[in-house]
């Protein structure tokens, strides 16, 4: 078959005259469904794809209307769309449905009227492309989306419920767990004060041990509450002055441990956008740790500074205290992990878990480095960083 072959050098030669056969070949070799109907809806022409699709020969179709070929509602719609194209006098695009082997198929159809010299429309041409697969895919995407949204709503509701429970739990812990501790501590003290004569040195020692443990448990309850608060309170980002917060915390530490001499070097103008209450907890824990682990150093120095790593502000808390063995560094941000014995340095092992949680909630990262006997440095960011960024 010669279907209008124009050679590579077509530009140099006169164009091949395109005849009716060639045009028919063109419309027969497309995957679109093409047809022409007169103003009364009678078929004038259909292409090969049309024949294939509806298993009809063109000779049998010409002269029939859609009402002879399709169920009435479908034929009605086709006719309506034909008339719309005729009425407008220019091409219209519509979505149509027609029966296929496996149920209804959806087509996107362009219909345009053919007009005579007086401008009267005498026929309508239609070019229909099967978009059933795309429709099904879209439908699937929509269904998955709906499902996902429903699941998100469900999970959110579950999460909210469990947050409420956690909230109630923490509240109850803060109230009810401390009350018996007050009794234990208080009445131990009453025994020491009122019955000192009846108790020998050893008995009094045991009472003091009870008191020390009660105090430790109270501290653990408080730390757990901080940890839970660091998770459940809403994060409010506002202008936060870390230098001022750090000086505040340093002041508290020096006031609480007057026998200690530690030098705090806090850089000026360290600011960020973050939650000041939570960031204060970060500094309380990091500076508190640095203070604690420099207890055996006569020339203790604790520094707060900032560096910028690829545009991300990284805050640094450095001390020259006991340090730690790097092989345990990965464990130190888990709750209740301690790298030092209780007799060496007291602590509940929750502080760094609080710090870690707050940093993560700010979208930041934290990293610890230490050398036993020489000191530790904690670096943390408080803002989301580029995807492949890692704190150094």
């Amino acid at each position: 078959m010669s279907t209008g072959t124009a050679g590579p050098a077509a530009g140099d030669r006169p164009l091949v005259q395109v005849g009716l056969d060639q045009l028919m070949a063109l419309i027969d070799h497309t995957s679109a469904v093409i047809y022409m109907r007169d103003a009364d809806g009678r078929y004038l022409l259909v292409n090969r794809e049309y024949e294939r699709l509806f298993a009809l020969h063109r000779e049998d179709i010409v002269g029939l209307t859609d009402h002879d070929l399709f169920p009435e509602p479908i034929a009605d719609t086709f006719r309506e769309n034909d008339l719309a194209a005729i009425a407008r006098g220019h091409p219209v695009q519509v979505e149509e449905e027609a029966p296929g082997d496996d149920g209804l198929h959806t087509y996107v159809t362009v219909k345009f009227p053919l007009t005579d010299e007086s401008g009267r429309s005498y026929a309508v041409c239609g070019i229909s492309t099967d978009i059933t697969e795309r429709k099904r895919a879209e439908e699937e995407v929509r269904r998955l989306n709906d499902e996902l949204e429903m699941r998100v709503r469900q999970r959110t509701a579950e999460l909210e419920a469990s947050t409420r429970e956690l909230d109630a739990f923490a509240y109850s812990v803060s109230h009810d767990l401390r009350a018996p501790l007050r009794s234990l501590e208080g009445f131990s003290q009453v025994l020491l004060e009122d019955f000192a004569g009846d108790l020998d040195e050893e008995a009094q020692g045991y009472l003091r041990r009870i008191q020390a443990n009660v105090e430790r448990m109270a501290q653990m309850i408080d730390d757990l509450l901080h940890l839970s608060r660091a998770t459940r309170t809403q994060l409010r980002r506002e202008h936060t002055d870390l230098s001022a917060l750090a000086r505040d915390v340093a002041g508290e530490l020096t006031a609480a441990y007057r026998e200690r001499t530690a030098e705090f070097r806090i850089a000026d103008g360290l600011v960020t956008q973050g939650d000041p209450h939570l960031i204060r907890l970060v500094l309380q824990n990091l500076l508190g740790n640095a203070f604690k682990f420099t207890a055996h150093k006569p020339d203790a120095v604790i520094e707060l500074g900032m560096t910028r790593q690829q545009g991300v502000d990284v805050f640094t808390v450095r001390d020259n205290g006991a340090g730690f063995d790097m092989q345990y560094a990965h464990k130190m941000f888990d709750p209740f992990q301690r790298l030092h014995s209780a007799s060496e340095f007291e602590g509940t092992g929750i502080g760094l878990a609080i710090v870690h949680r707050i940093v993560v909630r700010h979208g930041g990262q934290i990293r610890a480095e230490g050398t036993p006997g020489e000191g530790a440095v904690f670096r943390f960011s408080l803002t989301p960083a580029p995807a492949d960024w890692e704190i150094r």
Binding site: Y171, S174, H175, D176, R178, A179, L181, R182, S183, E185, G186, F187, Q189, V190, Q211, V214, E215, A218
Partner: protein, 144 residues
């Protein structure tokens, strides 16, 4: 020093005992009237009939049987007879919402009970010195 009684609203008998001891240790000899729940506290302060208690100070726990401390506080502030009564919330909680609600309802002070008894004795001493000695109370009586 005011010699009017102190109303201690506290349901835990151990805490009552320890609080009384803390007052004694600080040589505060005002009578201590104990209300073991919110209902009793309101019966003392705002009785339907009979003589009302006119304490120098109310120490109010939050978590109480029947009527909780915050509701007691609200009713104290709603009534002309007790509107200006010094109320110190003395409780185990340091939950922000409890602190905020207490002040919003008109608490004069919010103190978290320390676990260590010696610290509690010091806190009670400070409260006694301030509210019974230093502070000048509003005159008693309606609208006072």
């Amino acid at each position: 020093m005011s010699n009017r009684p102190i109303l201690l609203v506290e349901d835990n008998p151990d805490d009552v005992l320890l609080t009384k001891r803390a007052f004694t240790k600080n040589r505060i000899r005002n009578e201590i009237v104990v209300a073991a729940d919110g209902e009793q506290a309101l019966r003392h302060l705002l009785p339907a009939e009979g003589e009302a208690l006119h304490p120098a100070l109310v120490l109010l726990d939050i978590k109480l049987p029947k009527i909780d401390g915050l509701e007691v506080l609200r009713r104290i502030r709603d009534d002309d007879r007790t509107r200006h009564l010094p109320v110190v919330v003395l409780t185990t909680s340091n939950e922000e919402r409890d602190i905020v609600t207490s002040y919003r309802l008109g608490a004069n002070s919010f103190v978290r009970k320390p676990v260590v008894f010696e610290e509690f004795v010091n806190a009670v001493n400070a409260l006694g010195v301030y509210w019974l000695l230093i502070n000048e109370p509003a005159p008693a009586g309606p609208g006072g």
